[in-house]
C-alpha cells in the first residue's frame, strides 16, 4: 500500500523555483533515499512535507489522506516526524526531557489533572519516563539522559534528534542528512541503527543523505533531485549508475 504520495509538488522563493513538478510515491515499510546536489531542493521537499512551507502547486497524500497545506502540528498528528539538517534540539533541556517532549501526544491527560496531580497523571508520567528511557537505550544515550542536550557532541545530538522524532510515533520518519559530521565507523553504526529502528518501530523512512555508502547500504529505492526537478528515480544501485546522476551529482 502507498504510504506517501506526492503529486506535482512545487514552490518558489522569489524568482527561484526551488522545487518543480515533483512526484514521489513511497510504499509502507520502505527505506527510501532522496539525494541530489547542494541546493537541489531536498530539504525544501521535507519542509513542504512537514508544513513549514506551503506548496504553490501540487498535493501531498499520507495514507490516502490529503495533508497539503496543513499545519506542522496536524501533519505530525497525521504521522510524520522529522529531523533537521541544522540540528534543532531543545538545548536547555536534558536529553531525557527532549525525548519526553516527543512523547507529548502519546499521553493525553489535561492541564487540570496535572494541576491536581490526579492518579492518572502519575501513571502517565511513569509511562512517559519508561518509554523515553527505552528510546534512549535504543540509541545508547541512556548514560547521557540527564545531560543538557546542547552539551552533547555532534554525533550524539543527531541520534537524539532521531530518538525524539521517533517518540512521537510516526508512520513516516524523515531524516535530513543523519550521517553528516560522522566518520565512516560511526556512519556504519548509524546504518545499523536505522535498519533496526525501521523494523522495531515499524516506520517507513525517507532520508536525505550525501554519504553514498549509507544510501547504497540501506535504501532500497532512491530519487534524485536536480535544480528542483526530478532527475532519476528507481532502484538504488541502478540509479546511481545513471550517467546523468553521475554527471550532476556523483562526479567520477
Amino acid at each position: 500500500m502507498n504510504l506517501l504520495e506526492i503529486k506535482n509538488l512545487g514552490i518558489s522563493f522569489g524568482g527561484l523555483r526551488a522545487v518543480d513538478d515533483f512526484n514521489l510515491t513511497i510504499r509502507e515499510g520502505q527505506l527510501y533515499g532522496l539525494i541530489g546536489p547542494n541546493g537541489a531542493g531536498k530539504t525544501t521537499v521535507f519542509n513542504l512535507l512537514t508544513g513549514v512551507y506551503r506548496p504553490t502547486t501540487g498535493k501531498i497524500f499520507l495514507k490516502g489522506q490529503n495533508i497539503t497545506g496543513k499545519s506542522s502540528i496536524e501533519i505530525n498528528k497525521a504521522g510524520i516526524a522529522r529531523t533537521f539538517q541544522n540540528i534543532r534540539l531543545f538545548k536547555n533541556m536534558t536529553v531525557l526531557e527532549n525525548v519526553k517532549v516527543g512523547l507529548h501526544n502519546r499521553e493525553n491527560y489535561g492541564v487540570i489533572s496535572s494541576l491536581l496531580k490526579l492518579p492518572g497523571y502519575r501513571a502517565a508520567e511513569r509511562r512517559i519516563e519508561e518509554r523515553a528511557m527505552e528510546l534512549l537505550q535504543v540509541f545508547s544515550l541512556e548514560e547521557d539522559a540527564h545531560h543538557l542536550a546542547s552539551n552533547l557532541p555532534y554525533g550524539k545530538q543527531r541520534k537524539l534528534e532521531i530518538a525524539r522524532a521517533l517518540a512521537s510515533a510516526p508512520t513516516l520518519l524523515l531524516l535530513d542528512e543523519p550521517a553528516a559530521g560522522m566518520n565512516p565507523q560511526e556512519t556504519a553504526e548509524l546504518m545499523e541503527m536505522i535498519r533496526f529502528v525501521q523494523k522495531k518501530f515499524d516506520v517507513t523512512i525517507l532520508l536525505i543523505e550525501h554519504d553514498m555508502k549509507l544510501v547504497l547500504g540501506i535504501c532500497e529505492e532512491i530519487t534524485v533531485l536536480n535544480f528542483g526537478c526530478l532527475l532519476a528515480q528507481g532502484e538504488t544501485a541502478s540509479v546511481l549508475k545513471d550517467p546523468r546522476v553521475i554527471k550532476a551529482y556523483l562526479g567520477d
Partner: protein
C-alpha cells in the same frame, strides 16, 4: 478641517521628537540587540549638561551644543564599558534589567545633584514660527524634522555601506564569526554606543530647545516611547523607527484632540490601543520583515 490639519501637525511635531530619539535608540537596539532603557536618561543627562553650560557657565551656544553631544557620547561609552560589556554572554533580558538599573542610577544622581524641581531653560534658540493659512508652525519643528531626516539617511548609509557599518551588522548576528573575520567586537559595540549616545545628545539639544525644560525623570518617558517607536516601525529598521515615532506622535495628538468629553481622561490608553491594533494587523511592525529562518 483646519482643526484636523492643525492637530495632525501637532502630532507630527510631537512625533518628530519621538522619532529623533527613536533613531539613536533603534541603532543601538538593532546592533547590540539590547533594549537600552537607559537611552532616555542619557538624553536627560545631556539636557542637564546643556542647562548648566548655558545658564551657569554661560558658554557660547555652539560650544554648549558640542559639549552636550560630547558628554552624552562619553556617558554612553562609559556605561557600555562598565555595565553592559561584562554581560556580553548574558541573555538580552539580563542586559535589559541592567539597563534599567543604569536608568535608575542616572535618575537618582540627577536627583541628588540638581534636585527634584524641574529646571527651565531660558530660550537659547529663538527661531520664531511660520504661518501657513492660519496655522502657525514653530521653526524649531522644521529643524527637528530636518535633523531627523539627515540622521536617518546618514545612519542608513553608514550601516549599509561602510565597512564599520557592515561589521556592526556582523557583530549583531554572530559574535564568534565576526571575530574570525578580524572584527574587534568590543570596539564595534563601543562605536555603536558612542554614535547612539551622540544622537541622544543631539536629541537633548533639540528637545531642550523645543520644550525648554528638564527634570530627573525626563528620560524615563523616552525609553518607553522610543522602544515603542522602534518596535512599531519594525525591529532593526532605521526608517521604521522614524516613521514609528512620528505615527505614535500622531496617534497621541489625535486621541488627545478628538476623544469626546469624559473619554479624554483615558487618551493615553486609546493611543496605545491604536498601536496594538496596528501591530495585530502587521505583527512585524511597519517596515519589519519576518526574520528569515531557514529550516
Amino acid at each position: 478641517m483646519q482643526v484636523f490639519i492643525s492637530t495632525l501637525i501637532d502630532g507630527l511635531n510631537q512625533g518628530s521628537v519621538y522619532a529623533l530619539i527613536a533613531l539613536g535608540y533603534s541603532m543601538v537596539y538593532g546592533i547590540a540587540k539590547m533594549l537600552n532603557f537607559a537611552h532616555g536618561d542619557v538624553i536627560m543627562v545631556g539636557a542637564y549638561a546643556l542647562f548648566v553650560s548655558i545658564t551657569q557657565l554661560e558658554l557660547p551656544i555652539p560650544v554648549t551644543f558640542l559639549l552636550c553631544v560630547i558628554i552624552s557620547a562619553t556617558l554612553g561609552f562609559v556605561v557600555e564599558k562598565l555595565a553592559y560589556k561584562p554581560l556580553r554572554k548574558a541573555t538580552p533580558i539580563a542586559v535589559l534589567i541592567t539597563a534599567i538599573g543604569v536608568s535608575y542610577l542616572l535618575q537618582n544622581i540627577a536627583l541628588l545633584v540638581f534636585g527634584s524641581r524641574r529646571k527651565m531653560f531660558t530660550p537659547f534658540l529663538k527661531l520664531g514660527s511660520l504661518k501657513v493659512g492660519g496655522i502657525s508652525i514653530p521653526m524649531i519643528s522644521f529643524v527637528i524634522i530636518g535633523t531627523m531626516l539627515v540622521i536617518m539617511i546618514g545612519l542608513q548609509l553608514f550601516i549599509k555601506k561602510t565597512k564599520t557599518g557592515i561589521a556592526m551588522l556582523a557583530v549583531s548576528e554572530d559574535k564568534a564569526a565576526a571575530q574570525l573575520m578580524g572584527i574587534n567586537i568590543n570596539r564595534t559595540i563601543s562605536i555603536t554606543f558612542i554614535i547612539g549616545s551622540a544622537l541622544a545628545g543631539i536629541a537633548a539639544i533639540l528637545y531642550s530647545a523645543k520644550y525648554m525644560t528638564v527634570d530627573p525623570y525626563t528620560g524615563s518617558l523616552f525609553g518607553i516611547k522610543a522602544f515603542a517607536a522602534a518596535v512599531f516601525g519594525g525591529i532593526g529598521s532605521i526608517p521604521g523607527a522614524m516613521i514609528g515615532g512620528i505615527l505614535i506622535g500622531v496617534f497621541e495628538a489625535m486621541t488627545t484632540g478628538y476623544l469626546p468629553g469624559n473619554l479624554t481622561q483615558a487618551s493615553d490608553g486609546f493611543a496605545f490601543a491604536i498601536l496594538i491594533i496596528m501591530l495585530i494587523l502587521k505583527p512585524t511592525g511597519i517596515f519589519g520583515t519576518k526574520r528569515i529562518e531557514k529550516v
